[in-house]
Symmetry: C2
Amino acid sequence: MSTTNYQKHHCPIAQALAELGDQWTLLIVRDALIAGPRRFNEFQESLGISRNLLTLRLAQLCASGILERVPITDTKRHAYAPTQKCRDLQIVILAMAEWGEKWRTDPDIHHLEILEKSTGRPVTVQYIQTEDGKIVDPDNIEVVRHGISNEP
Amino acid sequence: MSTTNYQKHHCPIAQALAELGDQWTLLIVRDALIAGPRRFNEFQESLGISRNLLTLRLAQLCASGILERVPITDTKRHAYAPTQKCRDLQIVILAMAEWGEKWRTDPDIHHLEILEKSTGRPVTVQYIQTEDGKIVDPDNIEVVRHGISNEP
DNA sequence: TTATAGAGTTCAAAAATTGAACTAAATGGG
DNA sequence: CCCATTTAGTTCAATTTTTGAACTCTATAA
């Protein structure tokens, strides 16, 4: 997670990727979101990440407030729980999952169904108009950058 | 972009991250999406990535059909243009941008405004019900994994 | 109380990334 | 058409990351 280069572009995407854009961070976040509070060894076994790097990544995720060390009741052990900042990443990760399914190469890929908890109805990630909540076609999107010289 | 470990989880998120999850790939994609067809040196100067690694990443992105080498008219030079697979990543990247702005640490961060091209109206990335297009609260989302043993 | 599981730490080897210099083809100006 | 410059890379040593395996030091369980 080198902060060397694209950190300095004052771009929210570059900022996000400075925090999330390495090999493992988003997978750790996925694990934390989908499996709930998880412990060191659970992450390690589920991901196959090397243990010293996991130590480092968990520390960084805690430092940036994406995960939180929480005690496990009745023990002196602890787990890593997703914070609100982490839960706010769920839509990013699910948008990525939808992309991964649409453009899959592995035919055995798992299907992730996104449901509304209260009704069980299927849900997708889409562009919607802020004012009236109407769905907007992805090809009909334009991005305007404010406070900018010439770069993304 | 090591295909070593999390590739083998048949998870669409892991699949997506195997294609996108290194330091530079999503920044290259962002550049290609926001700035349109771009040339080698433009990527290099905008990102500050080392040239040999850029060569490698562009080759991988072309190989996986996210970018396409297109000739520039009236010259023998070429640029790298986003494909549909790349344009389908825009929602992922903009979801990430919204997260980056919400949780920004850099106060000088640029604001990205997402607009509907045809009307100029503001747009956000949201969960919506597939059936009736109604917006769903992010805290009211549940993910069900199909075809799965025990891992994400 | 003793064995085992959990949560790391240590450190050498391997892999990825950088940075700087080097090429060869394409283009532009005179 | 010729020469200088730009473009799009390539090469390679030095640095930085990541891995993998073994080790340590509590907790917990029997």
